[in-house]
Symmetry: C6
Subunit: 192 residues, 6 copies
């Protein structure tokens, strides 16, 4: 479902990886920020764990926002809407944590995210990246849409080691331990 | 149920297409905006996915409203009510996304929507149009009420190709990939 | 249960018609407005569809209130309570829509509603009147309490045509397509 | 459970009558008003219909408060707590409507309510008194605690007529059609 | 679980008595007041009836607070947290009413409560003390922790009369009809 | 899952101990404070008892915050987010009470917490430490991650006495009765 134009950098849109009953899939996580009163809107048929993940991602971004020149009252004066298509497909789990945090950061800083990258990983409030499941299926899904690089939690190294080489051939696997590594790797360097 | 007068342009009213257990049907999506405090009221026996669709449509419109001369605090100072008759008929699913977004945009800009058009398509937060189901039944319902043109997600092209010619004869099918194509096609050109 | 005095005009009270498992019945829809903060209170053991109907009626009235000299911030500075006795009898469905809208309009304008009239019909956000069920039982109930005229959705004409003449003899049936016809017919002409 | 001192007039306390699976009982409806923000607190294990009844009673009182010298912003600047002991006994139904309305009126005006009176009746938003059930058991309970007079909905006249004379001997039965009759009868004449 | 130091007077902590499936137990009801916005926080795995009891206790205290020199806007400018350890043990019922009210009063006035006393009793909004169950088990629990005096609802007198003398030997039983008797008995005389 | 770097002091992060169906485990309790409006966000798939525990910890910290130089309106002007990874693992019970309270205190004072320590204990509103279960499994989990000292409720002394010596060899067990002992032991002395 992803076309070539989807490999271009975008602001507030990040490609995640999902593991479903029918195999891996890519998810496009979209964030809009609007003048408002500090409301967080979550849509895309998310379960409770995923909704909590989005809250964790938001709080992490709030804790580092000052370093990006974001005013301290920014979050009280804006509403944030995070959506994951397709709207009728139930989604849950914590593994989109780093993807959601990056999409929020990109949207509020207006710095684009690389379009040729995908990522998966649970995030903690302090930005540590925790391991996830379904890695094989997720990597296959990433290859199908043509991404060049996939960010994978460092604690999933052994899971990658167990995979057939052909699965990861052509994909650059980058291990991440902390959210700042995700940001350094996936957020475009040039500011707006 | 739609008479000729329903083919006239209206402000804040857009014709959608539904796919029910008993075939296709047209839906009249109505939006009223009122001085208020930023509340979104959704009525018409909608399920959760459809309610989320309306929120996505609203956020999309908020993200483009400036281009239509809407003040940045407009949405905090107005309430928006979106209703889909008939009130006792349960409705759900994401396929009214573009219809709801257009109805909101028309209501806040007071630019009328063409009455001789119908549309179906899921919307994402960034205004991409995603494919939908039940296309055959929806097109038949559109013909019955006499619309001239139907907006269909580009990704549903193959579904149209598989239909008998007589189903679409007399109907102009316009494929849309993004919400701005929907707006260009269905929102009347003359401002109020 | 309605006595003669109930056929006198009242402010904020309108007679609706209900269709229950034991036949038709009249409903007295009561509205009080009070200085407040824009809250809508709904009582009378209403189901979700009926509650939505009241919200639709309120939004419709807000959209036409200016024409009645109501200030634009009126609805933010008042609370509205709509009640339908009897309090322990569950009620649902959209068919009290026009009745509820008229009761709200009467209460805020303080223009009385004719007491010798009854009505039934679903309302849309734009004030269109949609057809309802149980017409025969409702008309019988209207006759019992002695009303002179009943407002019926125009799209129910064929249902009236199918009734025995004796059911409607002595009753003036007025067909309505839009809410402004309801208002013209049932709201007393003299202002307060 | 009611002692002699309970037959003295009190502010914000009114004796209601309940009909339970084990017979009739008296209920002491208590109301406290406090400086606040317009909150309504309901305690005493009440079901939804009874809670709605309290809201109707409150709105009725708000609609007549001006006649008692109550400022128009009184209800926004006070919290109202209505409690019905005993706290662990589930209670429901609309028949305490007039009792709750009178307790609220007494609490806000600080005019005491006669302690030698009991009452039962559903209230409408406009102060009409609707009939109730379990009259025989309720009258027996009223006699046991020694009240002199019981207010009964006028529409329950035939139910009283069917009772054995000894049940009502010694009790003054007063029929009420409207809430203002309840107020005239039960609220003490002397102002504070 | 209560040590000698627990028999010392404390501010905002009152010993209640509970009746559980495994016998009687003492409960330590703790109240903290903090600068805030008038929120009431209830923790300790309480059921709905017990939560309502806390609200009744709070309203009672608000109704008498002026006599203790508490400003009329005190309750809008403070948050109150009432907790009953142990946090994982479900608790319900109205019998901690007087205990909760006294703990709130002590916390806001900063007047300590006697530590050598325990109490049980439902409270009404007007401060009447209603009878409770499980008296035998509660008194035994009170003796075990070494309290000298137990406050018991006057309407439970006959229940005490039926107990073996050895159960109450060494315990001073004080009967209370109204909350002001509880306050006089358990709140330390010296003000802060 | 804890590495050496996790034994370093951190601000707003405290190591708790959990007892699950598959044995003991360590929990990293994380707290972020942000400019805000006094909201408490709790994530990490917590059950109701654990959520109440966090509220108790917060109220305890509010009651002692002045002694740490925290302004009285600090809590109304900040949002607090407490998270316990991993996000998909359900957690419940009161035994993380002291850990959560300490993490909140550390986050608001910006005083780091020792990283070579772990702790378990229910907290009351007044800061008493109540006993917990699963001590053996918790101590084993603490040893595995290399902590030097474990804070244990004093009332669990007998449970420790019953353990094999090898389980606790190499671990310093410190018994705590009150939260101030926890703070003295685990919060680093040097202020920021
Ligand atoms: Ca997909
Ligand atoms: Ca590292
Ligand atoms: Ca239809
Ligand atoms: Ca395109
Ligand atoms: Ca009836
Ligand atoms: Ca017409
Ligand atoms: Ca009783
Ligand atoms: Ca009368
Ligand atoms: Ca215990
Ligand atoms: Ca007395
Ligand atoms: Ca673990
Ligand atoms: Ca000690």
């Amino acid at each position: 479902e992803d076309e070539d134009e989807n490999l271009k950098p975008q602001i507030g849109v990040v490609r995640g990886l999902a593991w479903t009953s029918v195999g891996g899939d890519t998810l496009s996580i979209e964030v809009n920020v609007m003048p408002g009163k500090g409301k967080m809107e979550l849509t895309g048929c998310m379960g409770d764990v995923m909704k909590e993940s989005a809250q964790i991602g938001l709080s992490y971004v709030r804790s580092i926002a000052e370093a990006y020149g974001i005013d301290s009252d920014y979050f009280e004066k804006h509403d944030i809407h995070l959506h994951i298509p397709e709207g009728a497909v139930p989604k849950d789990g914590p593994s989109a944590g780093i993807t959601m945090a990056l999409a929020i950061l990109s949207a509020i800083t207006e710095i684009p995210v690389r379009g040729d990258i995908a990522m998966t990983g649970e995030i903690t409030l302090r930005g540590k990246v925790l391991p996830i499941g379904g890695l094989k299926e997720k990597l296959l899904a990433a290859k199908i849409v043509g991404v060049k690089e996939v960010l994978v939690p460092a604690r999933n190294k052994r899971n990658v080691a167990e995979l057939d080489e052909e699965i990861i051939s052509g994909l650059k696997i980058t291990y991440v331990e902390e959210m700042n590594e995700v940001i350094k790797c996936a957020l475009k360097k040039e500011s707006k």
